[in-house]
Amino acid sequence: MSFIVDYYNYWIVVFLMMAGFYIVISANNLVKKIVGLNIFQTSVFMMYISIGKVQGGSAPIVADGITSYSNPLPHVLILTAIVVGVATTAVGLALVVRIKRAYGTVEENEFEDKDALI
């Protein structure tokens, strides 16, 4: 039991990761795929933030009387990864807009049918 409770943040990471991954694979709607991709990436951000926590450490701001700080580096890394994630989402959604214009649908099985006619 303590295995679950002590590491609850990692269990959330695992759940979100698998949920996101499942949506990416199973969703037929392209916008839903992008949402799944976002959930998948967010789980990794949470994993990084969990790594940075030091037991009993305070926020990494230098102050008198504090000796133990949490590690700020994972936060910085994940700030970069969030930017990457936002850029990916933007490119993905832009593609969805153009696919909608070209095919008139964002359902994967429908535009595959339309291509088969060519």
């Binding site: 990794v44 994972p74 970069t80 990864a81 990457v84 850029a87 490119v91 993905g92 593609l95 535009f111």
Partner: protein
């Protein structure tokens, strides 16, 4: 004085030039700027290769922050060699692109093409030069995002769905790499590659590190289109504009192979990956299945671009095969094939692009009789095709020769035999096109439009690559020396021990923290 900044310039120059291309707004000006910047990067990359062949390693502390705290740009023979190839191909493709994209991409989007191309070059150079695992992920995503844009620029609507599929697969791959890097950081507390290598060496067997390695290898395998994870590649290369296919096929997946080599040999160490985890068997099997399955699928394609894309996946199999032999000779053959394959696939895709421009189709039927109407294009295609097959006096022969020798060195008769059978399949798929071009009569098109030879601006880069295929098949001194030095360097842990003292001081700091 200025030369000390050379390691970072192939990243910084295209990065600065990319938005400038956009601001220039005129297609011609943007083309000129992009080509010049890419050409300068190529010159710098070649000079860096010469320096690294001479002195070994070049280290550059970005922003003056000393590694392992700051981001280090680190060049050795292995990445300087691939950097020269990538920047060189980029320059040739840009020269080629001017006329090629004129027919394939709407006029208003030409500057966007050059911008995205330069951003992609930035990312690829960054992946190659960086000595920091997280930085590598960031550059990987810069290049990938630019790639998705490049693929989607084609006027064919199927390019959009191909780009979207590529985006989904690519992002999953990149996120897997991010997870793996996170796990390495969790255990070691560092991101600098050599520092990581030193600290991972202290662990005999560790579950976190193993999981990290698994995530990284799967992620990189998606990016390099290793056999079961390659499904994004054929549609993307088929529907992308020809210039983009030529650039991506000869650089993007090769850089991903480099990333795999870097993670396996520099960071984890061949011993950890191959002897403790037994990855060599998995890679070996996947590589051989890739060679056979994809060569076979290539033989039945009617679209020549799709055929070349499947052939690319098969050729990646040869590179991975070289790595999975776990010998210096095997790794050297793999690196050599990265170099040679860039030359042949670049030339092949350029030739197909020229055919597409003149006939409006990349279907095998469009190739009928082109031996007469487009003799120069088809001659270049033939040379590069022979190189893919591995005919003596071409570059492809050299790398296959070293691959077979490396397999025989370890008494793997079966593998050597399978490599040769793989070449036979290449004869089939290249042969079909040569047959159509030289032995069939031209199709009688409804319009009276006669098919002309491709413009000179497209023929010149195509022929530079075709001649390079022959040159590096006869005079192998540069490519083989560099690949050999790189393989030895990657395999020799003592060469990396120079960094030991610095990483020790970092460990002390880590302990104090």
């Amino acid at each position: 004085m200025f030369e000390q900044h050379f390691p970072v310039l192939p990243i910084v120059l295209p990065l600065i030039a990319a938005p400038l291309c956009m601001l220039l707004g005129r297609s011609q000006l943007a083309w000129l700027l992009a080509t010049i910047v890419s050409g300068i990067s190529f010159c710098i990359a070649v000079s860096l290769l010469m320096v690294t062949l001479d002195q070994g390693v070049l280290s550059y502390a970005l922003g003056g922050w000393e590694p392992p705290w700051g981001i280090e740009m680190r060049l050795d023979v292995a990445n300087a060699l691939i950097l020269s190839v990538v920047t060189g191909i980029s320059t040739l493709v840009l020269v080629y692109a001017k006329d090629s994209i004129a027919t394939e991409i709407p006029q208003s989007q030409h500057t966007l093409f050059y911008t995205a191309h330069l951003l992609c070059l930035t990312g690829l150079s960054g992946i190659l030069t960086t000595g920091d695992a997280f930085n590598l992920f960031v550059f990987l995503e810069i290049s990938s995002l630019a790639t998705y844009t490049l693929v989607s620029l084609a006027s064919d609507r199927r390019a959009l769905t191909a780009a979207f599929r590529y985006l989904v697969m690519g992002t999953i791959g990149a996120t897997f790499i991010l997870i793996g890097v996170g796990m390495m950081y969790m255990k070691t507390g560092t991101l600098n590659m050599l520092d990581l290598a030193a600290r991972i060496g202290e662990f005999e067997y560790n579950r976190t590190l193993n999981t990290g390695l698994a995530f990284i290898l799967v992620g990189v395998s998606i990016k390099l289109a290793l056999f079961p994870l390659h499904m994004w590649l054929p549609p993307a290369y088929t529907h992308a504009p020809s210039a983009v296919s030529a650039f991506l096929a000869s650089t993007a997946t090769k850089v991903a192979v480099y990333v795999m080599i870097r993670f396996i040999f520099t960071i984890y160490g061949a011993e950890y990956v191959f002897y403790s985890m037994g990855m060599d068997v998995i890679l070996l099997v996947l590589a051989i299945v890739a060679i056979f399955n994809c060569s076979f699928v290539a033989t039945v394609q009617s679209n020549v671009k799709t055929m070349l894309a499947y052939s690319s996946v098969a050729q990646i199999g040869y590179m991975i095969l070289g790595i999975s032999l776990v010998t210096t000779a095997g790794l050297m053959a793999g690196l050599l094939h990265i170099f040679n394959h860039a030359l042949m696939k670049g030339a092949l895709f350029m030739a197909v692009g020229a055919v597409f421009m003149r006939t409006g189709s990349a279907d095998i039927k469009a190739f009928r009789g082109l031996g007469k109407t487009m003799p120069w294009t088809m001659a270049a295609f033939t040379i590069a095709g022979l190189s893919i097959i591995g005919v003596p006096l071409t570059a492809g022969f050299v790398s296959k020769w070293y691959l077979v020798t490396a397999a025989l060195e370890q008494q793997h008769w079966m593998i050597a035999f399978l490599v040769l059978i793989g070449s036979l399949l290449a004869i089939v798929y290249i042969g079909r096109i040569l047959e159509a071009a030289y032995f069939k009569d031209p199709v009688q098109s409804a319009s009276d439009k006669t098919i002309k030879e491709a413009p000179l601006m497209m023929l010149v880069p195509m022929w530079i690559l075709a001649v390079a295929n022959i040159y590096f098949g006869i005079d192998t001194s540069l490519s083989v020396t560099a690949a050999d030095a790189a393989a030895n360097w990657l395999f020799e842990p003592s060469a990396q021990a120079v960094f030991q003292s610095a990483s020790q001081s970092a460990s002390e700091l880590g302990a104090a923290r």
